[in-house]
């Protein structure tokens, strides 16, 4: 059976970023600037994506504003007919650049918040003055009239700030807020002792969000990703592998999800060599976890297999060493109790655990690692 066409493309324009968040979703091995796709190649890819059925384009990174050609890329995306969303920390955006992005047709901005106070936000982002700058950028976004979503990644150090984040979202005139508990892949794996939420925090967050959704109905839309390590059922990762969305890394590799490179047996095609539709329909990485042919008996016989698809492949890889295993968050996984206990141990490490910050991509003149 032919797979459905994708709706959304996440274009990771660059891995460069002024921030160094300890939970960065970029891979440990970062792409260097000179390996990034150029303007014309991205423009061709946006056009191929639209022909393939993609409706929504998310321009992300790293920090997409680190690309000098960001405005040209937005114009190319709109020209291809894509709904164009910019996912940014705000650092690197000036009022002038925002006005240019507006003229280029940018549809929507998602602004990340590392914390709701300058002290905490700048400590987590590893960038002094970042919060203040971000609030300036938010004001320009409001003046121009871009629709705004605030993105907040939650973990043990800032989970108590949800109510304040909801206040800031309303003050800035945001229509949406995404409150996502940190996913433990890549850089975040090395920070589990510092970032793992406690079970009490996870439960409190659900309570606060449920209440706020009711109170703010029609004013602020809240999208929430709860902490799944304390849960019994795995998440419906990516809405199903290779069914809804795809990622393109800065060097042109096409990925079924942003963490897919953590699965060692997968090989990825690049837009430099093949058309996007061929990669989507026939690429080995995309077909690896479509359907149920790959599933073990626990997942294959489960009545939820078309609901959660056995959960997250990258989480199965990270926690069991087997990417075909049942997601260990699932109560049916043999690893479930061990993972749960380990999560509780990480969560009990207290407030003084130092953060392992993300490092910057290497430079061409440095020896490859």
């Amino acid at each position: 059976m032919r797979p459905p066409r994708p709706i959304a493309l996440l274009a990771e324009l660059t891995h460069r970023c002024p921030l160094s968040c300890p939970y960065c979703s970029n891979p440990l091995e970062l792409t260097r600037a000179e390996q990034e796709l150029d303007t014309d190649t991205w423009a061709r890819v946006f056009s191929e994506a639209a022909d393939l059925g993609v409706l929504q384009l998310h321009l992300s990174g790293g920090e997409p504003a680190a690309r000098r050609d960001l405005t040209e890329l937005v114009a190319a995306a709109r020209n291809a007919g894509l709904y164009t969303n910019l996912i940014t920390s705000g650092i690197g955006l000036t009022q002038k650049r925002l006005i240019e992005l507006d003229a280029a047709g940018l549809d929507h901005i998602q602004l990340s918040l590392q914390g709701t106070t300058p002290e905490l936000a700048d400590d987590i982002g590893g960038y002094a003055g970042g919060f203040k700058r971000k609030m300036e950028v938010a004001a320009w976004i409001g003046e121009i009239g871009f629709p705004l979503t605030l993105n907040v990644v939650l973990h043990r150090r800032n989970l108590h700030q949800i109510p304040h984040a909801l206040e800031i979202a309303q003050e800035l005139g945001a229509r949406r807020i995404e409150i996502a508990t940190v996913q433990f892949h890549g850089w975040a794996l090395a920070n589990r002792d510092a970032l793992m939420p406690t079970k009490a925090q996870a439960q409190e967050a659900i309570k606060i969000v449920t209440k706020a959704r009711h109170a703010l109905k029609g004013k602020l839309v809240i999208d929430f990703v709860p902490a799944d390590y304390h849960d019994q059922l795995p998440k419906r990762c990516m809405g199903g592998w290779g069914t809804t969305g795809l990622n393109i890394a800065p060097d042109g590799q096409v990925l079924p999800c942003h963490a897919a490179q953590t699965i060692p047996h997968l090989t990825f095609d690049t837009v430099r060599d093949k058309p996007l539709s061929e990669i989507w329909f026939e690429g080995a990485a995309f077909n690896a976890y479509r359907g149920d042919h790959w599933m073990n008996d626990t997942c294959k016989s489960c009545d939820r297999k078309e609901i959660d698809f056995g959960g997250c492949r990258c989480q199965a890889m990270a926690r069991t060493g087997d990417p075909n295993a049942t997601d260990p968050v699932c109560a049916k996984s043999a690893h479930h109790n061990a993972v749960k206990e380990q999560a509780q141990a990480h969560a009990a490490m207290g407030e003084d655990v130092p953060l392992n910050y993300r490092q910057a991509p290497g430079k061409a003149d440095q020896a490859a690692e």
């Binding site: 066409r5 709706i7 959304a8 639209a50 022909d51 393939l52 059925g53 409706l55 929504q56 007919g81 709904y83 969303n85 549809d107 929507h108 998602q110 009239g145 871009f146 629709p147 979503t149 229509r175 949406r176 109905k217 029609g218 004013k219 602020l220 839309v221 999208d223």
Partner: protein, 91 residues
């Protein structure tokens, strides 16, 4: 939804013809909602100036259907969009 309300699609929300799937969709932040012919017909009338009363009267005439029924269906659809912040309503 009152007859005098003026519904409007805010910036960042737009009707779009999905040429690949040959369907009309409403594009909004992080969402693409496939519209059935009724939803499409309603949203095509939403222009930011006409009232809910005008719009539903026009639809009733166009489709030769009872205005009451059209109003009830349209109000449910538009209110759901309003709750998702995909529609603004001026009183």
């Amino acid at each position: 939804m009152e007859l005098s309300d003026v519904p409007t699609l805010p910036r960042g929300v737009r009707l779009h013809h999905d040429r690949v799937r040959d369907a009309w969709v409403l594009l909004a932040p992080e969402r693409a909602i496939t519209l059935d012919p009724i939803g499409q017909a309603i949203l095509e009338e939403v222009d930011g100036t006409r009232t809910f009363g005008d719009i539903t009267t026009a639809l009733a005439e166009k489709y030769n259907a009872p205005a009451e029924q059209i109003r009830e269906d349209s109000a449910g659809f538009l209110t759901a969009l309003k709750h998702r912040r995909f529609l603004d309503v001026a009183g």
